[in-house]
Amino acid sequence: MLLDIIIIVLRETLEASILISVLLSVSKRQGVRFTWVPASLLAGLVGAVVYAISLGEISEWFDYAGQEVVNAGLQFTVYLLVVALIPVQWLGLARSKHVLRNLMSVIVFVALIREGAEIFVFYSGFLQKEGVLLKALTSGFVGGAVGLSVGAIVYYSLAMMRQSRVKLFHGAVLLLVAAGMVLQATQLLIQIDWLSSGAPLWDSSWFIGEASVIGQMAYAIFGYEATPSLLELCAYSLSVVGIVSVAALVIKFEKTVTPFEEYIK
């Protein structure tokens, strides 16, 4: 039971923790002060509590499909915001600092709503059982601490990188997390029959089982799926192509504007 709780909390914390670490690193590199962080964390937690409290009612929307619709909506939103973030952070224009700060605040806010709500709902189950709650909170704390440590490792690894290389790594980690979210969102829409389901294309559970710790972590970080259907594969590929093409356009644009910027220096 203890290990189960650690893994549940870790799974929910990991994705948000990695996402926030990358955003903090972007913030630092772009010279945006961290003043936006506490407010968006707080807003995200409040949002999570509100969502958790209203979950019972939301779940009954659209003939019991409300939970999936809202979660998928939140995940698609994070994806689109990440796509928008890439040109803003890569071009690093002086005027974009404001936009960058706002974009990152909203990403953190939206990402925390979903992950946080699940943790709150999970713990609400322990409120009736006295004595167990403390144990559950302690295990949860361990899970959360491991999640935050992974985030810290990501942050400091990025901090040690050279400026020329770090942009690419920011983009790569954001891509993994955001495309994973699209994959999960697609699966949610299949679950409520809004998208049609197909037979799995392959089964890689012999290699990494989804129930294994590695599988669960891979799921949390980039949406690992051992038995994806064609539709899920397409959604994942499209979201990767989306980010990569935006990034390619930005690189092309950057090359054409650099001489001009050097000229005005």
Binding site: D63, Q67, G125, I192, D193, S197, A199, S205, T227
Partner: protein, 110 residues
């Protein structure tokens, strides 16, 4: 201001719910004392199935299955719907993530 588009949304919803109603077999699953009833659910293979899950406990549960690729929170005293399949014949385990020790079950597609 005319809300002509509301009509279309209404119409679309009627069609959508109609397609859901159209002949998908419904199976019921109950969560009670952190156990699934029935623990073994036999369903026809090759068909999409509507799973109606009621949580009769007063604590939340998360229906989860790696084999079925499904995951959904069901609050205490509430019910929900999940679609599964079409499945190849086989055994597909599921569990309640919040009470993994007891809440275990399997879908058997025949």
């Amino acid at each position: 201001m005319s809300k002509w588009w509301l009509k279309y949304i209404g119409l679309a919803m009627v069609f959508a719910s109609g397609s859901v109603m159209a002949g998908k077999p419904v199976f019921e699953l109950v969560i009670r004392d952190h156990l699934f009833y029935p623990a073994e659910l036999v369903v026809p293979a090759g068909k999409k199935i509507k799973l109606l899950i009621s949580n009769e406990d007063d604590t939340p549960e998360e229906f989860e299955s790696y084999e079925l690729n499904r995951e959904k929170v069901i609050l205490g005293g509430r019910k929900t719907v999940i679609f599964i399949g079409p499945l190849k014949p086989g055994i597909y385990p599921f569990f309640g993530e919040f009470n993994m020790k007891t809440a275990q079950g399997k879908v058997i597609a025949k």
